[in-house]
């Protein structure tokens, strides 16, 4: 499967009479965009705003972040199973409006977290302070059940990203990157002398507000399976995960999975990157047994010498991470694990809910309990009362000058467990 990813660098976003890309600026026809996403009878009111890097703006609560992309050539369309039919994606050509992101905000449940600050201390911790954000604010009809509400807001985000992506369809990209993974037997033959690597991609799948979808299928219902890395770039994996802002993978991060990108960087040089095995993180313990056994079996069957395993979330998924590590190492396949930590505010506590001596190679994305002071912002997009809840809530407190003392776990993407960020931890 071969995919050309054409990147169109966007430096500015503005509202205008026509949605188009011109000289690195994305112009958006606001009414048209609203009309495109406004067809859902579950949403009473939708609004859109723009937040740019450096502005004193806080977006809260952030539900999802999505990158505008469009399929230019090849099978299927972006977000198969949701926006497009379930055709297999991942080949041909896809254009990306690099430097932009659709951010959905909407208070789905009362305790909602997820902050993106476009300036100040908090901006350092979220990758989405560096993107021009098109923020979609969704108000549901009264008494909409949580799972309906979550779905409506989720779909609104995909629609917006797909709509905006189309503006890049006929634009000549600033940069084209080519990614290719051959069918297994050919891929093995291509670099027979190089060690074979699989990426074990763990997906949050515990249930309401903790879900991930693959071609529209709820990931808790899958048996671990193979996916070409380029399928992920076309939005085959999307997030319905609203909890644990710091270490959930927003859809944007799935579409730009940095482990896949960085494995491709070394593909053909140091390693032979065979592809991805996706697996889930369920609540029922028997599911964990099944999934970890199946993952190890599949990784062995595919002929991997080594794997990278990334986790998503806190607590329960630590058990899946450890089980995957043990089962795979038991087969003589080397592992590197990615996680984050909850080591307490003082950094002195045991960091994970589970551990294994076989996990001897671990990358950490930081201690999510670290405290930061988020200064007051001139403008808040979304639901400021969510800020009050976070401020007074489990992870923060409001200070006299209006700033919030919070743990970085409330910041979207602060401790990305696919290594999207630079934050890490060392022992002092």
């Amino acid at each position: 499967m071969r995919l050309e990813l054409g990147k169109i660098y966007i430096k500015d976003v503005q509202f205008a009479s026509e949605t188009r890309v011109e000289n690195g600026t994305l112009f958006i026809n606001r009414e048209e965009l609203l009309k495109e996403i406004g067809e859902d009878e579950r949403l009473k009111h939708i609004d859109v705003e723009i937040a740019k890097p450096g502005e004193e703006v806080r977006i809260i609560p952030v539900k999802d972040v999505i990158e505008p992309r469009v399929k230019v050539e090849g099978n299927g369309g972006i977000f198969p199973g949701f926006i497009s039919k379930v055709d297999t994606v991942g080949s041909g050509r896809t254009h990306v409006l690099k430097g932009t992101a659709v951010v959905t905000t909407g208070r789905i449940v009362g305790f909602q977290e997820g902050i993106i600050d476009m300036a100040g201390e908090g901006a350092k911790y979220t990758p989405f302070s560096k993107t021009n954000n098109i923020v979609i604010i969704c108000e549901p009809v009264d008494d909409l059940p949580q799972h309906e509400h979550e779905e409506a807001v989720r779909i609104a985000g995909y629609k917006a990203a797909a709509y905006l992506g189309k503006a890049g369809k006929d634009i000549s990209p600033d940069e084209v990157k080519v990614y290719e993974t051959l069918p297994l037997l050919e891929q093995v033959k291509q670099y027979p002398e190089l060690p074979r690597v699989i990426y074990v991609y763990m997906l949050q799948s515990q249930g309401l507000l903790h879900d991930t979808y693959v071609y529209g299928v709820d990931a808790k219902k899958i048996i671990p399976t193979f996916i070409y890395p380029t399928e992920v770039f076309d939005g085959a994996i999307v997030s319905g995960n609203c909890v644990s802002a710091c270490d959930k993978n927003p859809t944007y991060v799935h579409m730009n999975n940095p482990i896949i990108e960085d494995l491709y960087e070394r593909h053909g040089k140091d390693i032979n990157f065979l592809g991805c095995v996706i697996t889930n993180e369920n609540v029922y313990l028997a599911d964990k047994e099944r999934s970890s056994n199946y993952t190890a079996k599949l990784v062995e069957f595919l002929g991997a010498d080594a794997v990278i395993i990334s986790e998503e979330g806190f607590g329960n998924p630590d058990a899946d991470l450890v089980m995957n590590c043990n089962r795979i190492e038991e087969k003589g396949i080397k592992t590197v694990l990615l996680t984050d930590e909850y080591a307490g505010r003082d950094g002195a506590s045991q960091s994970l809910a589970d551990s294994t001596p076989r996990g001897d190679a671990v990358i950490t994305a930081g201690n999510a309990n670290q405290i930061v002071i988020l200064p007051p912002m001139k403008k808040v997009i979304g639901h400021p009362n969510a800020a009050d809840i976070i401020a007074g809530g489990f992870a923060g407190s409001l200070m006299a000058d209006g700033s919030i003392e919070a743990e970085i776990q409330v910041i979207t993407g602060a401790t990305s467990e696919v290594g999207f960020g630079y934050l890490t931890t060392k022992t002092f």
Partner: protein, 125 residues
């Protein structure tokens, strides 16, 4: 699911919903009380069926917890269950100590109950 279960919970939604089909041990108490009760069951040979720290909502944030364990008490203590529950209690104590939960407004409590219930319902179906 073949094995018969006990639901240990302090969430009234789980209690009312499961009471017809399963044995329910309703705990008038905190999330920690639920975990400790589960631990005592495990010490007596019952086994965990669901992860005690299900959900990404931290145990110092939500006051509700529902855990499924086997109805049967086996001869020997199940090591996996034991490790999971002991680690879960440890991490819960750590986070509670880090930042104790606040008094949430009723609408937030309602959401916490709903998420806890949805996750366990989904795990058992």
């Amino acid at each position: 699911m073949i094995e018969k279960i006990i639901i240990v919970t302090n969430n009234v939604l789980s209690d009312t919903s499961f009471r017809g089909n399963h044995r329910v041990d309703f705990i008038e108490g905190s999330l920690l009380d639920v975990l400790i009760k589960v631990r005592d069951y495990i010490h007596l040979g019952h086994r965990l069926m669901t992860h005690p720290l299900m959900g990404s909502i931290k145990p110092n944030q939500t006051p509700y917890k529902t855990v499924a364990i086997t109805l049967k008490a086996y001869e020997s203590v199940d090591l996996n269950s034991l490790i999971l529950i002991e680690n879960s209690i440890e991490i819960t104590l750590k986070l509670l100590n880090n930042k104790p939960p606040r008094n949430w407004p009723e609408e937030v409590l309602e959401d916490y109950r709903a998420v806890d219930f949805e996750l366990i319902k989904n795990a058992l179906n």
